[in-house]
Amino acid sequence: MNVNYLYSLLAVVVLGLVAYVGAGAAGLQGVFGIFLPYLAVVIFVAGFVYRVMDWAKSPVPFRIPTTSGQQQSLDWIKQNKLDNPSTLLGVLGRMFLEIVTFRSLFKNSRVELVGDRISYKWVVWLWLFAILFHYSFLAVVVRHLRFFLEPVPFFVQAIEQIDGILQVGLPGVFISGVTLLAGAVLLLLRRILLPKLNYISKAADYFPLLLIIGIALTGIMMRYFTKVDVVKVKELTMGLTTFHLGIPEGGLSALFYVHLFFVCILIVYIPFSKLMHMAGVFLSPTRNLANNSRMKRHINPWNPKVKFHTYDEYEDDFREKMIEAGLPVEKE
């Protein structure tokens, strides 16, 4: 059995309790509401720059055409311009679709023995859960901008309108909040229930999912059930973004600080974990390099500088001696 998810679950529960007790019973609202969010943003920015600059230092390798389409060849062989691009425009198209529609996840397949034959089956679930999860996350984050911007800009209100289109209950249900939770739970179940995936999963695979489930659960609790004073929340967050710091009069509920602390942990965790794929996807060599090795010469960037001494130069240097020794020379 893989107990890694229990370690991750324990970590998330302990972190939640720390904030619940720290900001609630111990009353350290300034620490959890002001100090830790700033610290988290600073660590996030510094860690993010460090990781990306570390990648940026590596020389660009040879083209890696691990693609799933016909490369450019003779005129009468049709090239697959998106899967195996040979131009900048094609690469931009491939990158855009990869980032926006997760095409490489869509190609996910499973190997199975059917009778005595091996077979590869197309499996859509990973792609489906991932796209549900990521777009919900995006919508939730954009909607959260209402806490950080004053006046609230048009695009945030537009997303709220679309997201609340079901008009179920009051406060109206936001679809993305529910689908975010569903997406994260489905991705987690996939790692727990599928034996092969379970076998290769580590605590670091479960932790971010559980943390995000924690964030979504506390958020949903606050919005629909235990309630939080949203006007006061915005007072606090506007204070943070305009550097007029202060905890609003009367303070906020402990659950809010659990939500906020989870978010702080998440953004601190990003630069040091697999979540850096948010930057890494832009730098994947199998996606962002055109397959033009047959048209352009790519010199290996870490080749040492070699001083050449050609035969012509050699002969120039030793011609007299060669003639003396009776060796044939090309130029007299």
Binding site: V45, P59, L149, E150, Q167, L170, V231, E235, T241, T242
Partner: protein
């Protein structure tokens, strides 16, 4: 060859987006909205339920009123020995007859846009 320049441009764009709230607000202090009690509300002194509850849960209260009225034809809401007609326009907006200075002040600040007014009315604002 190295892609450093392109990567640095990407980083700069990312951080411009990430820090959007900081430069969008450019450090202006904002103050929380102060809902203005109308003369009628002042006279009544207290709301349907205590003010803490009203501040965070008035939508749930309204939701209960709506469901009870529309589904069970139950138009009276009793609390603390008082009776209220469970009505958005005739009860809430009767006391809070200044929607723009009361409800809207909070709602604009927190970007909530209740769709109730597509059908329900509220008292005309005196300018």
């Amino acid at each position: 060859m190295s892609d450093k320049p392109k990567i640095i441009i990407g980083l700069v764009v990312f951080f411009a987006l990430f820090t959007f709230p900081f430069w969008y607000n450019h450090g202006k202090a904002t103050s929380a909205p102060e809902p203005l009690l109308s003369a009628k509300a002042k006279e009544a002194k207290q709301c349907v339920r205590d003010v803490e509850y009203m501040r965070t849960e008035h939508m749930q209260l309204l939701d209960g009123w709506r469901d009870r009225t529309v589904r069970d034809a139950q138009r009276v809401y009793e609390i603390n020995g008082k009776e209220y007609v469970a009505s958005l326009s005739n009860t809430c907006m009767e006391c809070h007859d200044n929607k723009a200075d009361f409800c809207d002040r909070c709602h604009e600040y927190t970007s909530v846009n209740p769709y109730c007014w597509d059908c329900h009315t509220y008292p005309e604002e005196k300018k």
